[in-house]
């Protein structure tokens, strides 16, 4: 059985969709040489008309994709650095996202924005290490954060086929994941449907992106004393609230681990919703980056700001005591 890496999953999804639909094209910087490995082989297969290397003009080519999408294309934009999203926030949040409603449904903007290594890549410092998925979920952009190679493939396929803008954050902490897969059974993964990686009865841990793997590791460590259920929402907007509610029916206790800043982060939204609408038998907790965090350069400082397994373990133990 082939062993597929996370980036190979994204690469395969792009190739499969470009093969299937001639309207799919890829925009980005240095994608011809596949500097991120995601576009390997695509230039040779599909040519420069569909794998379009772009000058350093993120705002320009992000809205070029919007206009092309209005005219019938299905562009995928690869951004090498997550902080570039701040530069093109106007082009995504204020342009691409708003046209469907503002035109009364006359226009649709099927663009996929792919961040092939989002979050900390230790040593990349302040302007290369953010993980701004909460910001896009807040705005209402369809936002997905796959944790595994098969989900990377399946969510990428769904994002490209979606008629709305969709942003795909591939966490830097997950891109080293590999999985044995049967290529024949790989398929699309719907948005808004979470995945239970592990069943449990004492506490539900909602983990986003690469933190799913940390949550599974901590659950293994605690297996003799605490039964931990690990819930991966996979897409943050739309969010699988029904799946979370079903899990809390079983456990009644909640810990969220989320690699975005604390204030107005998706972790806060998950806690608030659970508190308002779901079964909780103990006060919930969240493990996040600190408020307003900017990742410092030094390795020890970078790691100090990111949510850790130790913090998660402490939070689980505290919630279960209640």
């Amino acid at each position: 059985m082939p062993n597929m890496s996370f980036l190979r999953g994204l690469n395969r999804a792009l190739g499969d969709e470009m093969e299937r639909d001639p309207a799919v094209c890829v925009f980005g910087e240095d994608i011809g040489v596949a500097v991120s490995n995601v576009t390997i082989g695509l230039l040779k297969r599909f040519g420069p008309e569909r794998v379009v290397d772009m000058p350093i003009s993120e705002q320009g080519f992000t809205s070029v994709a919007t206009g092309a999408a209005m005219a019938g294309a299905r562009p995928v934009i690869e951004f090498q650095i997550p902080s570039l999203l701040y530069l093109v926030f106007e082009q995504i949040a204020n342009q691409a996202h708003k046209f469907s409603l503002m035109t009364g449904g006359q226009l649709k903007v099927p663009v996929t924005y792919l961040l092939p290594s989002s979050g900390s890549r230790t040593g990349w410092a302040g302007q290369h290490s953010d993980h701004p998925y909460s910001l896009f979920a807040h705005v209402g952009i369809k936002t997905v954060v796959p944790a595994t190679p098969t989900d990377a493939y399946g969510l990428m396929i769904t994002a490209i086929r979606d008629d709305d803008p969709v942003i795909v954050f591939a966490p830097a902490g997950a891109v080293a994941q590999r999985e044995d897969v049967d290529y024949d059974t790989l398929g699309p993964v719907p948005l808004g449907v979470g995945r239970l990686h592990r069943q449990g009865t004492d506490v539900t841990v909602v983990a986003v992106g690469h933190l799913v793997h940390d949550a599974i590791a901590v659950a293994d460590e605690l297996a003799d004393t605490i039964s931990v259920e690990v819930f991966d929402p996979r897409s943050l907007y739309p969010f699988d609230w029904d799946g979370l509610a079903a899990s809390l029916e079983r456990t009644g206790r909640l810990v969220v681990i989320d690699d975005s800043n604390r204030t107005c982060g998706i972790g806060g939204e998950i806690l608030a919703t659970a508190a308002e609408e779901m079964r909780l038998t103990a006060p919930p907790k969240r493990v996040t980056r600190p408020d307003g965090a900017v990742l410092p350069f030094a390795r020890s400082l970078d790691l100090a700001v990111q949510p850790s397994r130790a913090q998660l373990r402490t939070a689980i133990e505290a919630v279960v005591k209640n």
Binding site: P55, S63, G67, A71, S100, L101, M102, G104, G140, Y237
Partner: protein
């Protein structure tokens, strides 16, 4: 290509549509106000007169003229300004976002300069898809200082995209004078990217039509983008709020000088008087009907406030549970 009579009909329709719309802002029928295009009609009429109905335009916050000239129904356009369910955008866009995709209008855009890259993308894809459609993006003199517009010029030129950049230089970015906002020249920005640029009299519909027709021919032939700076003057306010706020940024003498040449009169003199009278009467009857239609049209149902937010009908959660 539009003839003299059609150009007159177009500038007169835009003028009277706007005069009535301003009155409807004052009477409260149109919420939020509008950005009047009065004085600049020759540009919309001349440029759109050079286009086919399947060509594409993107417009600005001051977009009524472009939308009407490109062929949107004035009746549904007025209903849109009044936020009615029967409007072009079902009351979801209003004055600053009016769109009619059926006649190639990809929406007015309320962020200055933002639509240039959108038009460039649409033009690029049309060429890729093997069509000979062109795209036009209208913008004001203030937009030439927006980075994204300069990025769009670079990409359009690199790709020989069939796109026309139409700068409506009315002398003011809201209240800031062009000579206080803009270093160098406006056409120089396009020339720096290797795009042919020309400054034309934006008060004369036939002058604009001739320049735009040449640019459209170039774009259809695969020779790439053209930049036209159309010199014009905004007779009325930046926005109808000026009636209340009364910002002082130009003198009465200056306005009097700027309005001496009126595109409606310039074009009207080229049309025989009886024909002109007949067109004027037709336009008044049409706008009477538009006002009646608007008055009779329902406001959208509040239950559908977020309809059309997602192409697939996705519903997020309500604001209260």
């Amino acid at each position: 290509m539009a003839d003299s009579t059609e150009l007159y009909r177009c500038v007169r329709l835009i003028r009277r549509f706007e005069e009535r719309a301003i009155a409807m802002v004052r009477s409260g029928v149109i919420p939020g106000g509008i950005h009047p295009y009065i004085g600049q009609e020759a540009i919309a009429a001349g440029v759109c007169g050079a286009l086919r109905s399947d060509d594409i335009i993107t417009s600005t916050h001051r977009g009524h003229g472009h939308v009407l000239a490109k062929g949107a129904d004035p009746i549904r356009m007025l209903a849109e300004l009044a936020g009615r369910e029967t409007g072009l955008n079902r009351g979801r866009g209003g004055s600053m976002h009016a769109a009619d995709v059926g006649v190639g209008i990809y929406g007015a855009n309320a962020i200055v300069g933002a639509a240039a890259a959108i038009a460039t993308g649409a033009a690029w894809w049309q060429r890729r898809a093997g069509n000979d459609r062109v795209a036009v993006t209208f913008f004001g003199d203030g937009a030439v200082n927006q980075g994204v517009l300069l990025e769009a010029l670079n990409l359009a030129s690199l790709w020989h995209a069939p796109v026309l950049f139409i700068c409506e230089n009315n002398g003011f970015a809201t209240t800031m004078r062009v000579n206080e906002s803009t270093a160098g020249s406006i056409t120089g920005r396009a020339e720096a990217f290797g795009i042919p640029a020309e400054t034309v009299d934006g008060m004369d519909p036939e002058v604009v039509l001739a320049a735009a027709s040449a640019a459209v021919d170039r774009a259809r032939a695969g020779d790439g983008p053209t930049f036209l700076e159309c010199l014009t003057y905004r007779f009325d306010a930046h926005h109808t709020w000026e009636h209340v706020a009364r910002p002082r940024y130009r003198t009465a003498d200056e306005v009097a000088a700027g309005t001496v040449r009126d595109p409606v009169e310039i074009q009207g003199e080229r049309v025989p008087e009886p024909v002109r009278a007949e067109i004027d009467a037709e336009i008044e009857a049409l706008l009477d009907e538009a006002e009646r239609f608007t008055a009779d049209s329902p406001e959208p149902d509040p239950a559908g406030a977020l309809d059309y937010l997602y192409a697939d009908g996705l519903r997020g959660r309500a604001g209260v549970s």
